[in-house]
Symmetry: D2
Subunit: 215 residues, 4 copies
């Protein structure tokens, strides 16, 4: 039976002209690898509307796994997130000019929700292909964490057979021509996300492998 993985990617925000997350997932839209099909969905960089858009896409596509993808400018590696926290604390306004401070993503929800993706398998798989990757223990408190939490809350309550999680990606080279910041090529990111999607589709259980941070 065919498997399906839904990837979401954000619109550009914070003064950037492009969002590499969206560029990357667009390139993967419709791609078939063995028995796996990838579908991509653009989401607005807006509190709450991002969750609604992602949840509608989950209901429409009924994927085996959903991976939300966002840009983490300044990071060195492709970083599957371990945990979403139930807080919005926006350092900058979202694309609808909302800037919530210390409000819950889901009122009454638990403080945090774990990724149900096999994050350590994903990291290992990317490293096998010489793609920089590491587990991250914080998705921040902006729209990325918000979407991550919202999607995990939906899955936990409504569709617990669907695995889900979030992957942050660095800038791509096109964004750092005049910036002192690390970047990866878009090709590397696309390849990394494809490997992540395949791993998420095929593996229900994660491995126990060092992936922590001292702080």
């Amino acid at each position: 039976m065919r498997k399906k993985v839904l990837l979401t990617g954000f619109e550009a925000f914070g003064g950037e002209k492009i969002n590499p997350a969206l560029e990357a997932v667009r390139r993967l839209d419709g791609r078939k690898i063995d028995d796996i099909t990838i579908v991509a969905q653009e989401v607005p960089t807006v509190f709450h509307r991002s969750i609604e858009t992602a949840v509608r896409a989950i209901m429409e596509h009924e994927p085996d796994a959903v991976i939300c993808v966002g840009q983490a400018g300044g990071r060195l590696k492709i970083t599957p997130e371990r945990v979403a926290i139930n807080i919005d604390d926006a350092r900058i306004p979202d694309n609808d000019n909302q800037q919530p401070i210390d409000e819950p993503v889901v009122a009454g929800g638990p403080a945090a929700l774990w990724s149900t993706l096999p994050i350590k398998r994903i990291v290992r798989r990317l490293k096998e292909e010489s793609i920089p990757a590491a587990v991250s223990n914080t998705a921040g408190t902006f729209v990325c964490n918000h979407l991550f939490y919202g999607v995990m809350h939906y899955l936990q309550t409504e569709a617990s057979d669907i695995r889900g999680g979030f992957i942050h990606i660095p800038y791509i080279h096109e964004q750092t021509a005049d910036k002192e910041a690390p970047s990866l090529s878009l090709d590397t990111i696309v390849k990394g996300l494809e490997l992540a999607a395949v791993t998420a589709a095929n593996e229900k259980e994660d491995i126990k492998e060092v992936g922590g941070a001292t702080h």
Copy 2:
């Protein structure tokens, strides 16, 4: 009525000869500021034993607030932590040579517990005194996060009138003579922790002020 704040500081770990957290809290042990007394407690950099030691000190001193302090080598600022997560994932062994991977701090505990310190007031107070400070959204997955989670779990279940939390501090200058890493003076850190202790003793409610991270 006098108030009391308990500060805990870790032994050195990870090849460092000193732990600035321990140096700093020792200097504050017994200090009196207005109606507040600070007491300090050393804790082993060891999974579980660190929690036991801290909980015994809480039971002994019955403080108004407890602030666990740990080193975050590489950070630029004094960073009150927002949230503890229920996971141990040790990149290096602790000082008893334990290296748990993806085990819960407290079996059956919630995924995360929030700091009950007024973390944004603390950040604002330090910045008023030109001490570098910012909220952090991850305490890592090593003994620091472990102790933070363990203490918050104890307080939540056994002593919910005591405020508690964790503050990470950078290297001190003495540690970076031959390292390419940021550092603060020990005096600055001691002053910062004293201000944090006073703020924690006096303020039950936090303020709503931007303190988030985009990722």
Copy 3:
């Protein structure tokens, strides 16, 4: 016989409200340490006029040593510069809106001029007092390097008994409240520059001690 050290400090530039170099040298103006007197001179952050101002101050004060001080936002340590290069290549306009690209500081001058300060003694002395310090091998290509080269050229041709050089300093804490950048306290920088001035006044010869960079 009394000794004199001239310190120069730049006006603010590049959008910063203050220049910690100027703040620090002002605090040292007139300070007497043993038989040494420090005098301070503000210089404009302007190509050529900065050199003219510094040279006039050298002619007026006839110091034993001159140390030009400038801000290097983003650096971790107080960094005596090893070498000035004969090029202006301005990434941003100076405070008179000049932006030279690949022009010599002094037409016909040598490609580079060495600091004649005992830079490694200065680094060692600061480290003895737990002040972060390291030799730097580039002063950039903006007004800092320009002034450094211009002063060394003047000293070499007109006053070769006066030792001279340049020290870059990090941001101070006041500048990084809303920046992700390292900083030192102004007190630490003032103490470091005082130690540098005393060392420059007392020591004609430098020591041989590792202070290089692999790149």
Copy 4:
């Protein structure tokens, strides 16, 4: 008439198993692009012997341009160097266990020698292809700067019609699996060096374009 570009690459050093500079230039050895042929030469990461090896290769191949390539672990971009300085100051021993401190590369040589490569054209060309690139103003004080200075000194005195210079490259992804450091793919570096070689072969004059650093 055919043109020739000589690329040199260092052996691994400093505990690394590979040197991406050597990996990259090996891949380009013998490559023909239009009327240009690239030849590659391995050089030992050893003071003086590196220069001897490079000079012999220059005498043998009589190239139009020579580009020495070295690893700069921690840098974000491919960085053509602007200037070589006449100093050896080794933070670590070379591969023959020599560790010179503050000795000249060439006794009696000028303080510095400029690259004669069109470094800003190279940077522009790489950026056109979305390869991270920037001018660097320091090649350090280890074997990289040493070779750069030695080659430029030879060219200036013996073969002034040959353009020459040095390009530092970041780590490649294979080196940073367990490091917190930026890296590029080997493919990106190979492509960047090929573009640099072609530009060096074709362009005698550089462009005036902002490429400076404030410090």
